[in-house]
């Protein structure tokens, strides 16, 4: 069975984005859970907890953006 280059490219893009978005999604969920736990324990520290949560989510989301860049590169340039 012969797989053409076009089919291989499309498969690669699908798998890249599919598996690549798993890690950041789980990571963001864990960060959110940690923030909710901390907020439940100490509702007065709402400001710092939310600020640090947003920053940590930005770090985790950046990895998903790297995966998106790679898949866009695969589709439009290769």
């Amino acid at each position: 069975m012969e797989i053409s280059a076009e089919v291989a490219k499309l498969l690669a893009v699908g798998f890249t984005m599919g598996f690549g978005a798993l890690g950041p999604a789980i990571g963001i969920g864990l960060i959110g859970r940690g923030a909710m736990d901390a907020l439940g324990r100490n509702p007065e520290a709402r400001g710092p907890i939310l600020t640090n949560m947003i920053l940590a989510i930005a770090f985790a989301e950046a990895v998903a953006i790297y995966v998106l860049i790679v898949s866009i590169l695969l589709i439009f340039v290769v």
Binding site: G47, T51, I54, L55, A58, E61, L68
Partner: protein
């Protein structure tokens, strides 16, 4: 400029106060004044560019197939420029406030010095242990340098990817269901523009604080 402000000056001072307290809770009172110009400028630049891209006419009016007006964050050069400037300023703050001791977090050579001392006194096993630790710290310092250099890529791709993905998402939403759904994605775009501006400025502040204050490893 009135000493007791009223009206427009009052509102602008209020906004500056909000930004100042945001930076202060991440950086501490004594460094906040030093970092405020860069962080506020970066925040306003990213925010205005992101929200300008939402006006009607951006990305839709085409000249020879290319859009006539585009948000500046969707071109890779602008986020790259912001990232390079911010990383250079972080290194400058580190060097300025800790002198050449800032370089000790990358090149930690005191283990080699104690290895030379112990071989001079004749302790061979201590010398071997110190050489081993020196090698490990050299590797760790190299990883730290690599982490600092990767920040340029991380900053620029975070902003560029979010903005470009937002543009693609809105175009796809307009193509699929042109009636009511795109307004939801429009609001999402506005929120993401604000969040990315806050994140860019806030991460610069956090890394600047780490460069200024970290002496304990």
């Amino acid at each position: 400029m009135a000493l007791v402000p009223g009206g427009l000056q009052n509102a602008l001072e209020y906004l500056c106060e909000i930004a100042g307290s945001f930076i202060e809770e991440m950086v501490g009172k004594e460094h906040e004044r030093r970092m405020f110009p860069l962080i506020m400028s970066v925040f306003l630049f990213v925010l205005v560019n992101a929200w300008l891209g939402l006006l009607p006419g951006f990305e839709t009016i085409k000249l020879n197939g290319e859009p006539l007006l585009r948000s500046a964050n969707t071109d890779i050069n602008v986020p790259l420029m912001l990232a390079v400037v911010c990383v250079l300023m972080i290194e400058y703050w580190g060097l300025r406030s800790r002198g050449l001791g800032y370089l000790k977090s990358f090149f930690d050579l005191h283990h080699f010095l104690s290895a030379a001392q112990s071989i001079r006194h004749g302790y061979v096993r201590d010398c071997m242990t110190n050489l081993f630790y020196g090698g490990i710290y050299l590797f760790v310092g190299f990883l730290e340098l690599l982490g600092h250099a990767v920040r340029v890529l991380s900053f620029s791709f975070r902003l560029f990817g979010n903005m470009t993905a937002g543009v693609v998402l809105t175009s796809v939403a307009l193509f699929l269901v042109p009636l009511v759904l795109p307004s939801l994605f429009y609001g999402l775009e506005a929120l993401f523009g604000l969040v990315q501006a806050v994140v860019f400025a806030g991460l610069t502040a956090v890394f600047g604080y780490a460069a200024i204050s970290s002496a304990e490893h």
